[in-house]
Each structure stands twice: as C-alpha cells, then as structure tokens.
C-alpha cells in the first residue's frame, strides 16, 4: 500500500462520491455494478471504469468482502515488542518472516514494534508469539481484544 498522498486534482466529485458511498456496502445481486451505479447517475460500465482507475492510482486498497477471522474459527491478536535501536531492522525481518504476521508498524514508544497476528486457530496466536520470542530473545506482549466498540468511522473522500 502506498503512503503517498494523491494530487488534489486526482479525484473529481464523482470519484469522491463513489468512495464515500461504496464504503458502506456493495450489492449482492447479479448485476451489482449497475445497481450500485444507478443512484450515482452512472452506468455499471462507467462505475467499473472509475473503480479500475481508482485502484490503479492507489486511492483504493481493497474492494470486496471483509472477513472476520474470529468468526471463521481463527483469531487475531495485536502484539508488541521492544526492539533494540541498532537491531531494529533485523528484528523486523524475523517478525515479518512469519506468514501469520498480517501487518507490522514501527511506532514511537518504548514498545516500538506493533504487529497483528492472524491465525487459522485460536491456539496459533500463542504458538506464533512463542516462536517469535524464541527467535528474537525478546518478550512479545499480547493485547487480544476483550471487546470491540461500535465503529462509526468512514474516510471522507
């Protein structure tokens, strides 16, 4: 995913409407692009064309179903560790080598590496964390979600 900001004129008003509307959902019908395009005053083909372009320029990171790993029988867990400054990149490589690591961010704190484990079984979290601890010699702090609060967030395009 690119962290570059698009030029201000990269998106027109219709692009912004599409991004705002399609964050909420997409129809499960035989002609979903036609159905999603109609309220925007577009044809299905025009919507497909615009979505292709939005994807190409990096305005969209994903388009499709968003799955809940826990509901599928697997689990997610936010984890953190403190990587020594001089050794940060090597530790990041060791952590990232695990396919269970879905994303990993450097953050400015004593706990300076924060990553999410996603595993097909609940036991996979502790197993993967233990492997990372053995490989790095560092404590992996686990912060599983106890409760998720309702999310009202939408990116305003």
């Amino acid at each position: 995913m690119s962290r570059q900001t698009l030029a201000p004129d990269a998106l027109d008003a219709m692009d912004r409407q599409i991004l705002n509307r399609l964050q909420d959902g997409f129809p499960l019908t035989p002609h979903p692009f036609d159905d999603a395009a109609a309220p925007l005053g577009l044809t299905g083909d025009q919507l497909i064309e615009r979505l292709s372009r939005l994807r190409e320029i990096g305005a969209i990171t994903r388009f499709g179903p968003f799955f809940d790993a826990a509901a599928m029988g697997g689990d997610f867990c936010l984890c953190a560790l403190t990587a020594p400054q001089g050794d940060f990149d090597r530790i990041a490589d060791l952590v990232n080598a695990h396919p269970e690591v879905a994303h990993n961010y450097a953050r400015d704190h004593e706990l300076n590496m924060w990553f999410v484990l996603a595993t097909p079984t609940p036991e996979g979290i502790a197993e993967t964390a233990a492997r990372i601890e053995a490989e790095t010699g560092l404590t992996v702090w686990r912060f599983p979600k106890l409760q998720e609060f309702f999310i009202g967030f939408r990116v305003q395009a």
Partner: protein
Amino acid sequence: MSDLDQTDRRLIAATQAGLPLTARPYAQIARDLNLTEAQVIYRLSALQDLGIIRRIAVAPNHYALGMTANGMSVWDVEDAQAEILGPEVGALDFVSHCYLRPRARPVWPYNLFAMLHGTSRAEVEQKRRVIRDLLGPACRSDDILYSTRILKKTGLRLRDG
C-alpha cells in the same frame, strides 16, 4: 465458526483478494469454482448474515486521500467506566478502531485503544483532546503512538480448504 464447509472456504479463498471488476462478478467467481451465480450470491449472503463477512465494500487508502497522520491513542480507564465510555469513543466519526484490551503492567497501563486519523498531527492531537474531555476523570493516564513506518502489510490470508 467450524460449520464452514469446503465450498465456503473455497469461496472465501477466491474472494479474499477482492471482487473482479466485471459486470457480473459473482458469475465469474461461480465459473472459477464450478458453482452457479445464484449459489455464490446465496452463500455470500449467508456468510454476511453470520458475521463472517463484515461487509462487502471499498476500502479507501487513507494515506492517498491525505490522511497521513495516524496515531494509536491509548487510555488507562477504570474498568467499569471503560465498558460505559468505550462505546462513546468508538462512535466518534474520527475513530477507526476502538477496542478494550488487557493491560500489561508495569510496561503498559492502558486498556482502551482508539485509532485516530487526520491530515496532520495537529489535527490528530485536537481529536485526542476531544476523547480526553469525553473520558474526563475516568481516565488516569494516556499516550499516543504515531506510526513512523509500515514494516509489513498484507491482507488476511486463509488457507484454501
């Protein structure tokens, strides 16, 4: 949920990278999986009803849209109060994720996590003040961790079958 059958798992594997941008995307998926379009739509609807699919939607790249400041705000809120105030924090329109998580004392006293996004750190700090006001005396201490680098980012991967 262990009652996902083999076909559901194939369907998840086939769609987790995204939907095809063609006029009849579900028909195309159906062809690839040797199903009918109606079966694909029916099964995806059922997965959505079960909460396995949270939604089918577009995820905008918030960096591309100018939201380049992203902070994980963390709060040490008295447990009973956190249950009450957490939903209010999560409902704020600038909070993208809001969770209650265990503390890890002494290194980590915080139990309420709220991810904040803005076009600048100043904007994120202003949003942080809104949360601080909302939590009031129920919050004992707080911090914010800005991301300085993405070290890895891949979507969720489920093994096929």
